[in-house]
Amino acid sequence: MRKPKVILVDPDKCTSCKQCEKVCSLKHGGECNPALSRIKIMRNEVMGQYFVSVPVLCQQCEMPMCKEVCPMEAIYQDSETGAYLINEERCIGCRMCVISCPLGAIEIDPVKHTAFKCDLCEGDPECVKVCLSGALTYVDKDKVGFSERREALKKLSDRLVLVAGTPSEVAIEADKVREAN
C-alpha cells in the first residue's frame, strides 16, 4: 500500500461554490449530477443573507462502521490508496452502512440500488483539484496530527450546528461576525 492519504476538510474556507460536487459526478458517472456526487456541500442560509457550507465526505475512518455492519462484506479497503471501496456485485442496497455512518457520507444510488461513497479517485481526488479556496486538501494520513484533526473536527461541528440553523444559533453566528470586526 502507498502511504495512506485523506481529504482534510476546513469548512471555514468553503466558499459554497459547489464545483466539487459537479466534478465528482463527472468523474464517477460521466454525467454532471450533484445529487450523485460523493462529496456533498451542505449549504444553509443565515438570516437570508449569506451561506454557510460544510463539505461532507467519507473520512476513511480508522474503524469504519459501514464496513463493520455490512452483512455482505461488500466494503473493502483498497490496497493501493487505503480508501474503503464498495463491491457493487455484492452490495444488496440494504442501507445498513447509510444508517451507521456518523457523517452521512454514504448513499444509495437510486438507479443502481447500490451504495456509493468517496473512493479517493484512485489517489488523485478531483474535488481537491478544483478547490481553489483550500477547504479541501489531500494530505498524508500520518501527517495529520491529532491537533489538526481536532481543529478540523471542531470547525466542522461548529459549522454543522450552523447548517442546522436554529434561530438562536444564527444569532450567535451574527454576533461572532460582528465581534470579528
Binding site: 454525467e31 437570508g48 443573507q49 478544483v130 481553489l132 479556496s133
Partner: protein, 669 residues
C-alpha cells in the same frame, strides 16, 4: 436531447396557472442557447407596443448549454424581458451567476417563459417535473433577505435556488432588481411586481448528460491553472511595487483593480462629473475597507469573487465590486455608510447605481441652489452625506415622499424639479451614467450608444491604458497591444482610448464577446484562453476577452458538436440582431442610439485628460462605420433585409416589413 442541454422549454402562465413544455431542440440548432434563445423567444413571444407592465410582456429565463455541466464558470442564467427602466422602454437583459441556472437545468429546463398576471401575490416553485403556484401574500411587503429565509423555511429545503424581488419591485419602482443569492443587475424587477410574482424557486436533482466528461475535467485543470498563475503574478506584482496584496478576492482581479486603475489612470468621475481631482479620493478606496471588514470569501464558482463582509451596528452582507465604484460620486468618505447603502439596496431589491447618480445630481442641484430642502422632504442634499443617500433609498423603495417621483424614473423627477434640473441631468434613455469616464474613451462611448439593452457600462476591452501600465512597469503589455492593433486594425489608434479610428470594429468584437459568454452561460471573469491570448485585452484586470478556440473546445466537450469560429460569431450576431430587431419594432431609430449630450459639451475639467470631450461629428462618423459593418442602414439605423436573411432571420424581416420597419433602400457608406 443532445448532450449539455436539459431538453425542455417550460412555459408558465400566471393568469391561467397553467404550464406546458416544448423541446429546446426546436431552437438550439439555430440560436444555440442562453441569451441567444432568450432573444429569439422574446421577439417571438411579445407583440409590438406591449408595455413592460402588461401581463403579455413575457419574462424569459435561460441557462446556456455549458451551465451546470461541471465546467468552471458555467453557472450563469440570463433573464430577458422588456425593460421598464428605459424611456422609451426597450429590450432588457440581465445575467447572474449562482445556483439558479444549474438547478434549472438539473430540473430539466433550458428556458422558462413566464407570462400573464397572477390574481394575488404568488411565487413559483419548480421541483423537477412539478410546477407549483404558491401563495406569496405573506411574503408581499417583505425584503429580499426575509423572503429568502421564509421561502427556504416553508419549503424545508435549504438547497433551493431563489430569484426574488423586494419591496421595490412590488411597488413598481422602475429601477427595482431581481435578486439572486445576493447578486443583481439591470433593473427588471418591476416587471415581476406587475405580474404579482414575488419569486421563482427551483430545485433540480436530475443529472445532465455530457459528451466527454474526462475532457471537461481536463479543460477545468487548464482554466484553474491559469487562475492560479494570475494569482502568482499578482503576488509578484504587489511585492515589486510595494503595494499591499489583498488576500481577497484571492483569485479575482476585482476591487484592487478598480482602486488602482480608476484612480491611477485618472479615469473616475468624482462628484457630479467633476473629474478626478479630489483630495480625499484615497479615503474611498476599497482595499482598506475589505481588509478590515471581510469575514470570508464566497462565490458561485471556484474563482469565488465575492466576500461576506460585516460592519458592527449595520450587519453582514455579501459584496462584490459594490460599494467600491461610486462613493467618490457623492464625495462620501465613510465607507461603512456606503456599505450600509449597498446592503439596503440588496434588501429592497433596487439597483444602487440608479440611486447614487441621481443623488449626486441632486447634491449638485442643491449646491447650485436649484433645489432646496423643500424639494427633498427636508433632507439637505449635501455633498458627502450618507444620511441623504440612505433617505433617498428608503424614500424610493417605499414610494414615500419625493422618492415617489424618482421611483417612476429619473426623468419624472427631473420634470418635477424644473427645466434647470432637467438640463443638468446626464442620462441615456432615462438610464443614468455611472462613475466611469467616457470623454476620453471613444470606443466605450460608441459601444454604449449602440447597445440594444442600453447598458450602462461597456467594457471596451480593445482599449489599453498605457499610463497605468507604464507606471506599473508593464511596458511590454503596451507594446503587445500596439502590435496587436497594427496587425488586426492596421493602426495603433484602434487601442488608444481617445482616438476615433477603427473603433467600430472593436465594438463589434466586444459585442460578440459579451454575447458568446451569455449564450454559453459561462462567466467572462473565468478566462479559458492562454495567458498570451488574453493578456493584452485585460484592461488591467477587467474581464478577459473571450478566446474563441477555448470556448469552442469546451462546447465540443460538453455537447459533442463541433463548429468553427465564424459560426460562433454568427450566433452572437444573430442574438444581437434579434435584440436590435425588438427595438426596431418598438420604433427605435438611429436617434435613440445616442449618448448624453453632456459628453459632447462639457470637457473633462481636470487631470491628465483635461479638455478631452467627445467630438460629435467624429462620434456620428463612428456610428456610420458601425452600421455599415453590421449591414444596417445608416439613416435609420435599422438592419436591412439582406442582413436578416444572411443570418437566417427571414421571418423577422418579413414581420418588420409588414410594420414598415425595414429600410426602404440600402444606404451605407
Amino acid at each position: 436531447m443532445a448532450y449539455g442541454y436539459a431538453g425542455n422549454i417550460l412555459r408558465i402562465d400566471l393568469t391561467e396557472e397553467s404550464v406546458s413544455k416544448t423541446p429546446t431542440s426546436e431552437y438550439a440548432r439555430d440560436f444555440l442557447g442562453g441569451r441567444g434563445i432568450n432573444a429569439k423567444l422574446m421577439f417571438e413571444e411579445s407583440k409590438a407596443g406591449v408595455s413592460a407592465f402588461d401581463p403579455d410582456n413575457p419574462v424569459i429565463i435561460g441557462a446556456g448549454p455549458l451551465v451546470g455541466t461541471g465546467i468552471v464558470g458555467g453557472v450563469r442564467h440570463e433573464i430577458t424581458t422588456r425593460s421598464p427602466e428605459q424611456v422609451p422602454e426597450g429590450f432588457g437583459n440581465v445575467g447572474s451567476g449562482g445556483t439558479f441556472g444549474p438547478q434549472m437545468k438539473y430540473a430539466g429546463y433550458d428556458h422558462m417563459v413566464i407570462r400573464g398576471k397572477a390574481s394575488k401575490p404568488t411565487y413559483i416553485y419548480i421541483e423537477n417535473d412539478d410546477v407549483f403556484f404558491k401563495d406569496a401574500s405573506h411574503l408581499w411587503g417583505k425584503g429580499v433577505f426575509e423572503t429568502n429565509k421564509l421561502i427556504r423555511e416553508e419549503l424545508g429545503d435549504p438547497e433551493v435556488a431563489i430569484l426574488a424581488i423586494g419591496q421595490a419591485g412590488e411597488r413598481l419602482v422602475r429601477v427595482a432588481t431581481i435578486e439572486h443569492e445576493y447578486r443583481s443587475g439591470t433593473a427588471l424587477g418591476a416587471v415581476w411586481g406587475a405580474k404579482n410574482l414575488k419569486a421563482v424557486v427551483v430545485r433540480g436533482t436530475k443529472g445532465l448528460k455530457v459528451y466527454d466528461a474526462d475532457k471537461i475535467l481536463e479543460l477545468n485543470k487548464y482554466i484553474l491553472d491559469r487562475i492560479k498563475e494570475s494569482l502568482r503574478e499578482r503576488i509578484e506584482w504587489s511585492k515589486k511595487n510595494g503595494k499591499p496584496f489583498m488576500p481577497y478576492p484571492k483569485y479575482c482581479l476585482g476591487i484592487d483593480a478598480i482602486d488602482e486603475y480608476m484612480i491611477m489612470e485618472k479615469k473616475a468621475i468624482t462628484g457630479y462629473f467633476k473629474g478626478i481631482e479630489w483630495p480625499d479620493i484615497e479615503k474611498t478606496r476599497g482595499v482598506p475597507f475589505v481588509m478590515k471588514r471581510l469575514v470570508r470569501q464566497t462565490g458561485c464558482c471556484p474563482l469565488s469573487c465575492e466576500g461576506l463582509m460585516g460592519v458592527p451596528g449595520i450587519g453582514v452582507a455579501v459584496m462584490k465590486c459594490d460599494p467600491f465604484w461610486w462613493p467618490w460620486q457623492l464625495y462620501l468618505t465613510d465607507m461603512d455608510k456606503a456599505f450600509e447603502a449597498t446592503r439596503l439596496c440588496s434588501d429592497y431589491g433596487i439597483d444602487n447605481q440608479d440611486i447614487v447618480t441621481p443623488v449626486s445630481w441632486l447634491m449638485q442641484l442643491y449646491e447650485d441652489g436649484i433645489i432646496t430642502t423643500k424639494d427633498t422632504d427636508g433632507v439637505p442634499m449635501e455633498w458627502g452625506s450618507g444620511e441623504a443617500l440612505i433617505h433617498v433609498i428608503h424614500s424610493v423603495a417605499n414610494r414615500k415622499g419625493f422618492g415617489n417621483a424618482l421611483a417612476d424614473g429619473v426623468l419624472t423627477l427631473a420634470k418635477k424639479l424644473g427645466p434647470r434640473a432637467q438640463e443638468l441631468l446626464v442620462h441615456r434613455r432615462g438610464i443614468v451614467a455611472n462613475s466611469d469616464e467616457f470623454r476620453n474613451q471613444a470606443g466605450a462611448a460608441l459601444g454604449t450608444a449602440v447597445d440594444p439593452t442600453c447598458g450602462r457600462e461597456n467594457w471596451y476591452t480593445e482599449e489599453i491604458w498605457d499610463t497605468y501600465l507604464k507606471e506599473t512597469g508593464q511596458e511590454s503589455e503596451v507594446e503587445e497591444a500596439y502590435a496587436h492593433a497594427r496587425k488586426t486594425y492596421g493602426t495603433e489608434k484602434a487601442v488608444i482610448p481617445w482616438e476615433y479610428e477603427k473603433k467600430a470594429e472593436g465594438v463589434i468584437i466586444n459585442e460578440y464577446d459579451e454575447r458568446i459568454g451569455d449564450i454559453f452561460g459561462r462567466c467572462c471573469f473565468v478566462p479559458a484562453g492562454t495567458e498570451a491570448e488574453a493578456r493584452w485585452s485585460h484592461e488591467v484586470g477587467m474581464p478577459a476577452k473571450v478566446v474563441y478556440p477555448a470556448e469552442l473546445a469546451i462546447y465540443k466537450a460538453v455537447t459533442g458538436i463541433d463548429f468553427n469560429e465564424s459560426q460562433l460569431t454568427t450566433f452572437a450576431e444573430k442574438t444581437l440582431t434579434l435584440e436590435k430587431a425588438y427595438n426596431v419594432r418598438e420604433g427605435f431609430t438611429r436617434e435613440d442610439e445616442q449618448i448624453s449630450e453632456y459628453w459632447f459639451k462639457n470637457p473633462i475639467p481636470d487631470g491628465p485628460h483635461k479638455g478631452k470631450v467627445i467630438d460629435k461629428a467624429k462620434f456620428e462618423k463612428m456610428k456610420d462605420e458601425y452600421y455599415t459593418l453590421r449591414g444596417w442602414d445608416t439613416e435609420t439605423g435599422w438592419p436591412i433585409r439582406e442582413t436578416y436573411e444572411r443570418l437566417g432571420l427571414k421571418d423577422v424581416a418579413d414581420s418588420l416589413q409588414k410594420l414598415g420597419k425595414l429600410p426602404k433602400a440600402k444606404k451605407q457608406i
